[in-house]
């Protein structure tokens, strides 16, 4: 006797799932995003409401907790200006190096951006927390590669391609799918002393809010020093933003001539409720 139709359907579905699991990612480009959006579309309203409930129950990890609103705003403004200053310093150094060479033409620096506030409405379900969704998308001018910050200058992640008109997916810096990050460890200097040159370091995301990198042993990096993004692959508005602070400095067991540094992000991506997307100034909201 042939098996019931439901069993046949089930067997076919299982085989289909196995085949889909074996396909490379490029096979999903172009259709799986639309299917996923359609599958989750009925859940967005309730997910957005529940996100509000979540933020009420457990307050998001604010950059300056316990301070009055006006003072917190002032501190955020200060950090934002500090971020711009860090970015300008990096740019000046880069220009000085280029002036010494004048080897090739580089397009004009365009760091024009505008802040766009967004709410975290969903995080990846079922797996260790990784990327998260915000309620701003291409309709509001958000583009893939836009940096996402909190507290004025604390870099949190990057907007991934594949979002929807009113939703975007953000990859946190500590997720290794965000890729390697070129950064500058800025050694601290006493007040009044000239600011020492930064130390280049390539960071690898290590998860749980941490990134690790290697540098030359004679570099004078100490725990507590800020680490600033200086990666040509990122948009200009992300340059100079704080990746985190140096948490630990130690010798590499495999190579004592080199130093390993652990960098800890200053904001926990899993506990952020509101973020700022640095949208390119020319990208207006779509009517």
């Amino acid at each position: 006797m042939p098996p019931p139709l439901s069993h046949r359907l089930l067997s076919g579905a299982v085989v289909g799932a196995v085949l889909l699991s074996a396909l490379p990612q490029r096979s999903f480009v172009g259709w799986s995003g639309a299917v996923a959006t359609a599958m989750w579309a009925p859940l967005w309203p309730i997910t957005s409401l529940l996100a509000i409930v979540r933020d009420r129950v457990r307050a998001p990890d604010e950059p300056h907790p316990g301070l009055p609103g006006a003072l917190r705003q002032s501190l955020e403004d200060r950090d934002r200006v500090q971020g711009e200053l860090d970015a300008a310093r990096l740019r000046v150094r880069q220009l000085e190096a280029e002036l010494g060479e004048i080897a090739a033409y580089r397009p004009a620096h365009d760091a024009g951006w505008r802040p766009l506030a967004a709410t975290v409405v969903a995080r990846s379900a079922g797996r260790p927390p990784g990327l998260f969704a915000i309620d701003a998308g291409s309709d509001q001018g958000v583009q893939p590669g836009d940096p996402v910050v909190v507290g004025g200058n604390r870099l949190l992640g990057i907007v991934a391609a594949g979002g929807a008109g009113d939703r975007s997916l953000v990859v946190p810096l500590d997720d290794r799918r965000a890729g390697r990050i070129d950064a500058i460890a800025q050694p601290s200097a006493p007040a009044g002393a000239p600011i020492p040159a930064g130390v280049f370091v390539q960071l690898v995301p290590a998860g749980n809010g941490r990134l690790v990198g290697e540098l030359e042993s004679e570099a004078t990096v100490r725990p507590g020093d800020p680490v600033l993004l200086s990666d040509a692959a990122w948009k200009p508005s992300a340059q100079g933003m704080r990746v985190g602070v140096v948490e630990r400095v130690g010798k590499l067991d495999a190579n004592p001539l080199r130093t390993r540094i652990d960098v800890r992000m200053e904001t926990e991506p899993a506990r952020v409720g509101r973020v700022i997307v640095k949208v390119a100034a020319g990208q207006g909201a779509r009517p």
């Binding site: 019931p4 439901s6 089930l10 579905a13 299982v14 799932a17 196995v18 085949l19 889909l20 699991s21 074996a22 490379p24 990612q25 490029r26 999903f28 480009v29 799986s32 995003g33 299917v35 996923a36 599958m39 989750w40 859940l43 309730i46 997910t47 529940l50 409930v53 979540r54 129950v57 457990r58 969903a122 995080r123 990846s124 379900a125 079922g126 797996r127 260790p128 927390p129 990327l131 893939p144 590669g145 990057i158 907007v159 991934a160 391609a161 594949g162 979002g163 997916l169 990859v171 997720d175 290794r176 799918r177 965000a178 890729g179 995301p205 290590a206 998860g207 749980n208 692959a233 899993a270």
Partner: protein, 198 residues
Amino acid sequence: MRWWIFAPAMALALSLDMTVMQVLSINGCAPRLWPTLLAFVAMYASRASALGAALVTGLWLDAAHPALAATGVVPVAVPVFGPHALSCLAGAWAILELRVILYRRNTFTVALAAGTCAAASAVAFVAVAGLRAAYADPAPMWGAGSGAAAIGADLLSALYTALVALLPARWLHASLGAWDFATAGPRFAPGARVGRDP
């Protein structure tokens, strides 16, 4: 099993997992509700319905968990269908095999089954993602860290899920009659003998 009850219930569970359940996270380890619901279904529904429910749950999770292709400067989010579907099948299958030796009408049993379902699906997911990482994905789908670390984190989450499942398990048991399960009718009520002539 009444699918029109299962679908909204699982949708609500997944929505809660993505939002409110993060409130309970401890050091990045958050409990989840979908294993509880799937384990509950797998304990009472027919084999085909339980596996079908696992497939639906897995596909929904796949839709909510994009893999990231690191081919360009900007990561590209591409939902990959299949890995979670297979992992949920593994979780449901584990409960289907265990349910004959479980005393099902007990809240603790459902909580234990939820933890088992979550753990089995976690191991299966990392196995599938590990296989994919060998040839298809530029970075493993589980995110940062090694596969062993991912399994360890997921097993802790499964334990946490089992603890938290005690409360929803009570509610699910209270609603048992509404689900119209194949193995939860009057014939399976306490005191009734299976196969006895009426």
